[in-house]
């Protein structure tokens, strides 16, 4: 059965640690393998935090894009915890 991979955008701008990570995690919980989650954050710690999260949880950090006043962090869900 083919499922369509989703691309979700989560806006955590304005919230600080642990906000972006918990927002990302909520999206991760409702995601399927192959889904793309794009997190928008203004927290300067978010880049390093999401990188650490992806590494720890076995998911793929696809891209970190610095926009003018926020960062877009793109994660691909490659591992789901049971």
């Amino acid at each position: 059965m083919a499922t369509v991979e989703q691309h979700k955008v989560i806006d955590s701008r304005g919230s600080f640690c642990p906000g972006p990570i918990t927002d990302l995690f909520k999206a991760y919980r409702s995601s399927q393998l192959g889904d793309i989650i794009e997190l928008l954050a203004t927290d300067p710690a978010a880049k390093a935090d999401v990188t650490a999260w992806a590494q720890k949880s076995g998911n793929e950090l696809v891209d970190i894009i610095d926009e003018q006043d926020y960062t877009r962090i793109v994660v691909k869900i490659t591992k789901k915890r049971s």
Binding site: G14, S15, F16, P18, G19, T22, K56
Partner: protein
């Protein structure tokens, strides 16, 4: 043979790591960091346990969880001379300031952080001795508390895990 070894290492990597947080203080500036670390660790796949002992028990007291304070006395990090902290009303003022700052940064409230922690699977344990000493009945604790345990249970739970004492 090589395959078997590989399987075993993978199994090991799958094993959940454990993080234990002992919270012994009941002021806002101690409870927030404990909850921030707990919730973040849970999102990173750790099995997280929080143990509330001594003043930490106040953090899970139904009547107090929503109104935890910041004490300016004995807290040289506060932006005021320490001695001023003894003036009546200073604790309330410092707490109001802190609450205002937290709200501005869109930080969830402490009761909301507990709900979030619970939702992420963090286990909350109250210390039985403290409850006895402070005369706190079970009914006075927030509903998110999983159980009431003693130090021995805590120590056996923490085996092989990281312990953070706050």
């Amino acid at each position: 043979m090589a395959q078997a070894t590989q399987l075993r290492t993978e199994e090991k990597a799958e094993q959940t790591e454990r993080m234990m947080i002992v919270l012994s203080k009941g002021t806002m500036d101690m409870v927030y960091p404990a909850l921030m670390i707990a919730t973040t660790a849970a999102t990173m796949g750790k099995e997280v346990h929080m143990f509330f002992t001594f003043w930490g028990l106040q953090a899970v007291n139904k009547k107090k969880v929503g109104s935890l304070k910041v004490a300016p006395v004995g807290n040289p990090g506060m932006p005021m001379p320490n001695i001023l902290g003894m003036i009546p009303g200073m604790t309330a003022m410092a707490t109001r300031m802190m609450n205002g700052k937290m709200k501005k940064q869109k930080m969830p409230s402490i009761p909301d952080m507990f709900k979030m922690a619970k939702d992420l699977g963090v286990k909350l344990h109250a210390c039985s001795t403290t409850m006895e000493v402070m005369g706190t009945p079970k009914e006075a604790l927030i509903d998110e508390i999983d159980d009431i345990i003693g130090a021995a249970t805590f120590i056996s739970l923490s085996e092989g895990g990281q312990i953070i004492f706050i």
